[in-house]
Symmetry: C2
Amino acid sequence: MPVLVVGSIALDHIKTPTAEHRQLLGGSASYASVAASFFGPVQLVGVVGEDFPPQHRQLYLDRKIDLAGLEVAPGKTFCWSGEYELNMNNRRTLSVELNVFEKFDPKLPESYRETPYVLLGNIAPSLQRSVRRQSLKPKFVVADTMDLWIEIARPDLLELLKEVDMLILNDSEARMLTEEDNVIRAGKKIAAMGPRYVAVKKGEHGCLLFGRDGEFFSTGAFPLEKIHDPTGAGDCFAGGFIGHLARTDDVSFPNLKEAVIQGTLVASFCCEEFSLRRLEKLHADEILARRKAFGTYIA
Amino acid sequence: MPVLVVGSIALDHIKTPTAEHRQLLGGSASYASVAASFFGPVQLVGVVGEDFPPQHRQLYLDRKIDLAGLEVAPGKTFCWSGEYELNMNNRRTLSVELNVFEKFDPKLPESYRETPYVLLGNIAPSLQRSVRRQSLKPKFVVADTMDLWIEIARPDLLELLKEVDMLILNDSEARMLTEEDNVIRAGKKIAAMGPRYVAVKKGEHGCLLFGRDGEFFSTGAFPLEKIHDPTGAGDCFAGGFIGHLARTDDVSFPNLKEAVIQGTLVASFCCEEFSLRRLEKLHADEILARRKAFGTYIA
């Protein structure tokens, strides 16, 4: 089954103490669609400017991502610029230029409207809701979000929660959204706010999955000795998650657990190099090998 | 198989915004021995003063803990006094009175010397080494430690590491001991410093287990919606861990994994009330029930 992914597409400029990378492919839709592409066909919805480098478009095509929903608008592509500290743990934003993203109004091509698996990647909840409304026969809709939207678009986000099957956010965002200190209570509270399921990401500590009827699942992250760049790991988690659901066409809770693991594994590869560089050369059998190891690591 | 537990025995005075609890039973040996007692016979090594309340001694006896190694020294029992903030997350030490603990020189009774499973609970590494030397036929020796000893007794601790089968410490302590930011690298590094295995506790995020030959295991914590008092949870983890090993008399890696889970479960009960109050009324079948739920929660 195909997966529809909407989100941001960005050109990232990243400075480290030893190097400077310009025009890297970034944005929630880029990471999520490439991650999902390891599981089956992906349809992308997003906007880029006239300056969007052909090699980035080629990367999508190499991953067999359907670009019928990729709009090229007059102007420049959304651009994020950031700097990493020596230990690579701290990152600060140097500049954000919305450019064509400022007026992004996602339109689903006719061929996307009946796609059963939908990932509303991390963008403004109002845009996520617009895509949700254009999707006519969704079987499972996942929305990813972040602290920014909890702060500046809470009413929209609360409406969105009633319209999706699952919300993905990280632990501090779950606490922020619910004003609950305890992450278990926070997860349960969000599951009562609309979505049938909630995935709470905890970075190196793994992920918790909550169901509205008291279902619960917890998994650790894949153990990595070196984390080069966690940028996009959350988007890759979401992409791997929905990709696994679509490939198996099974939305039972046991299969959601497996989807959490698959998302975790794709995210682990993402952290190993800058931008999408690790995923560009990733093979599906590497995910399988990591899945096999994971089975012995975790319980 | 019996378990030998050595550690501190304390009277804890705890203030909360709404109540004040005095003369609570505390100390690493108290928590660990009571935790281990749910799995089989326990032999306690520790020191108390003449003021040690009879009801605390009775608690040990109710849990069938062998007190042949419990020394009563002239003077007062080790006393810790602390205060909790409103949300119970922050605790500050008001006072520490070592009292009889200052001159503690653990002596193993004859009947303890051939005990196969030994837990060197959290006390000074020099005392842990003394007990280790007095133990004649240990099959598996676990040492627990803390930041204080890494700071003030590092040479002793490094020697201890060569004399035990497993070290238990938390993630920040693992980073401190190895000067490694990444906890996976830190765990592997400690396993190369002497102990065959290393358990790295991560509180609400669970526990990682490392083996010298690259063995690895990760588990989440049991999900708790309300944490009353995490004091002693680490000691209970260690007690439950060694208790399970002794009960099964199996030190294979698959059984160490199960011991990590059993320790995790006993620790979860510990957090539910002040001091040992939850463990006092705990039944073994409650651990079993939680184990069953845990099996569906975790992977």
